[in-house]
């Protein structure tokens, strides 16, 4: 469960998000909202990328206080991922697997499914196309035993086959009991259509839960 208490985020004095109280039970959420409504800010707050006022508890772990425990249970896949261009994809996978205590073989299998070729993984990231970079970021987002996976626009820049693979993976993770929050401007046509998807709307500088 994710609990927000008096959460506020401001950029240079401009209030972007204000969530007095909110609870999200473990499940799969589709976070919608127009550009600039605070979707990415919410995910970045939940992932520990940015500081904020108030508190957020994830499965009993206070983000601001138990930083290491928090980072072991929450993974974020960014909308526009950026990594050091001199590292290779494989070096990043090794690093993420090591720090998150993940399964390298599972990561490489996911790379195969996404058609991220092994020889590409040995190239420096500076040589990657935006689609390849997005695929790598998704592989890294699923690395390790996370309790919540946050995916910011996971489908942009992906080819049709890769989109199907990602949606399948989201469904599988959700079935395993991993909490998921996704933002997407594209329709998400899940292959088995049996996943309960709760909609959240970012608007008016807060988050609304749709019944």
């Amino acid at each position: 469960m994710i609990q927000f208490t008096a959460y506020k985020k401001q950029y240079s004095g401009n209030l972007v998000l204000d969530i007095p109280t909110m609870e999200l039970q473990k499940g799969t959420y589709w976070l919608k909202g127009i550009n600039g409504s605070g979707k990415s800010t919410l995910l970045k707050s939940l992932a520990g990328f940015i500081s904020f006022e108030g508190s957020i508890g994830i499965n009993g772990v206070d983000i601001q206080k138990q930083k290491m425990q928090h980072r072991r249970i929450v993974n974020l896949g960014e909308a526009a991922p950026i990594y050091p261009t001199f590292l290779t994809g494989m070096e990043l996978i090794n690093f993420y697997v090591e720090t998150r205590q993940g399964d390298k073989a599972a990561c490489l299998r996911f790379c195969d499914e996404l058609r991220l070729a092994k020889d590409a993984l040995h190239k420096q990231i500076g040589a990657y196309s935006s689609g390849m970079l997005k695929k790598l970021s998704l592989v890294l987002a699923f690395a390790g035993p996370a309790q919540w996976i946050l995916l910011d626009e996971p489908l942009i820049t992906l080819d049709v086959d890769a989109i199907a693979v990602v949606l399948q993976r989201v469904e599988t993770e959700a079935a395993r009991g991993t909490g998921m929050i996704l933002t997407s401007h594209q329709d998400m046509d899940f292959p088995h259509h049996n996943m309960k998807l709760t909609t959240l709307v970012a608007a008016d500088k807060t988050i609304h839960t749709l019944p």
């Binding site: 240079s12 401009n14 972007v16 992932a47 990328f49 425990q69 980072r71 950026i82 990594y83 050091p84």
Partner: protein, 382 residues
């Protein structure tokens, strides 16, 4: 033409001097405020420049580096996405455009050509006509060459010269991350910092050996440290801009903090070699290792300051200038290793407190609707 000059003034000249205000302040204090008799000191320095070909070469190298700095600033701005409108200058007549860039470069290198002209004046007055004329010609060539390169940069669409990448991959352990960044992305910056550092260290230790005491040497040493502040800032920007995902990983603050001293330790090996080779014979009474610990300690401290929330480059430069000037007051203690260790510990505490509160500089997104992360601006600043 008047409006084009106005645009260049606002987009190039003002930002350049704002960004480097801390450095200029520090250099001014170090060169004019720290000497007991500044007029005599600079007269002797100018004579040394005019009489010694080695000193003249060193000074000209320093001027050339400054020229590279201004040129790099202008060409990066010319290629920046948010300065695309400057491409409109291509419509001007070539002669007018070249004249504009000549004026721009002349203003940007004011700090060095003023000194060069005074030095040349001293040379003509003391009948050292050849080196004085050489200095004037050098300055003119510097301005013309920089203006030509600016012109070519505007007319072309290149992003500048870069060293080729290695055709194979070498293992990159976590603690070497910052060093690899320097090797791949910060090569030219590192080269400039190292040349500046060697120059200011060799002036008192080699070229002017026997004529300095410890306090003179420390002035130069502090300049070398301040030059490396650029690298410290670059490292913080690299971690936050090029590897933001690190914040989502269960990596402890201690481990991330250790990236910095480890990088500095390797980075300062050339300076360590210079210190261990020259300092023992100077009679300064300071151990080279002690000086090296001080260098690393202060860099760690300065790097931690860069984690202050919303700190921009101008504020950082100012902070570095203030820290450097303040350092002169504690250096008479001469217990350099103790000061170095204290600074490193203070740096760790600052880093530990600031790390999770860090936020980059945000700017208006141009639509009037909100703010965006100032990544592009920071990339340019690098």
């Amino acid at each position: 033409m008047k409006y084009a000059a106005h645009i260049l003034w606002k987009t190039m000249v003002i930002p350049f001097f704002q960004r480097n205000s801390g450095l200029f302040l520090f250099l001014f204090v170090a060169l004019f405020g720290a000497a007991q008799n500044p007029r005599l000191y600079h007269y002797q320095l100018m004579q040394s420049i005019l009489l010694s070909p080695v000193t003249l070469s060193v000074v000209m190298t320093a001027w050339l580096l400054y020229g590279f700095k201004t040129l790099s600033f202008v060409t990066k701005k010319l290629q920046a996405d948010d300065h695309i409108f400057i491409k409109q200058l291509q419509a001007l007549a070539p002669a007018k455009l070249f004249f504009l860039f000549t004026g721009l470069q002349t203003i940007l290198i004011v700090p060095i050509w003023v000194y060069a002209v005074v030095t040349a004046g001293v040379g003509f007055y003391t009948m050292h006509v050849l080196p004085a004329a050489g200095i004037i010609i050098f300055m003119l060539l510097l301005i013309v060459a920089a203006s030509t390169l600016c012109y070519r940069s505007l007319m072309g669409n290149g992003t500048g010269w870069q060293l080729p990448e290695l055709p194979f991959s070498i293992p990159k352990p976590f603690y070497t991350l910052l060093l690899w960044h320097s090797f791949y992305k910060g090569k030219m910056k590192m080269l400039g910092v190292k040349l500046a550092s060697f120059t200011v260290l060799l002036i008192p230790l080699l070229w002017n050996a026997g004529h300095n005491n410890l306090s003179d040497f420390i002035l130069f040493y502090q300049v070398a440290i301040a030059a490396h502040a650029l690298v410290a800032y670059d490292y913080v920007q690299f971690l936050e801009t090029d590897f933001p995902g690190l914040r989502n990983l269960p990596v402890s603050r201690i481990k991330i903090f250790l990236l910095f001293p480890v990088a500095y330790l390797v980075l300062l090996l050339p300076e360590a070699a210079i210190l261990f080779y020259y300092v023992p014979s100077t009679g300064f009474g300071a151990h080279p290792l002690s000086l090296l610990i001080y260098f690393i300690g202060q860099l760690v401290f300065i790097g931690s300051i860069a984690y202050e929330k919303n700190l921009n480059t101008s504020e950082y430069s100012m902070a570095v200038g203030v820290i450097s000037v303040c350092s002169f007051f504690i250096l008479p203690l001469t217990a350099f290793w103790v000061i170095g260790v204290v600074l490193a510990l203070a740096g760790f505490v600052i880093f530990y407190v600031l790390y999770y509160k860090y936020e980059p500089v945000y700017v208006e997104d141009g639509t009037g609707k909100g703010l965006i992360e100032d990544r592009f601006e920071q990339s340019r600043q690098q």
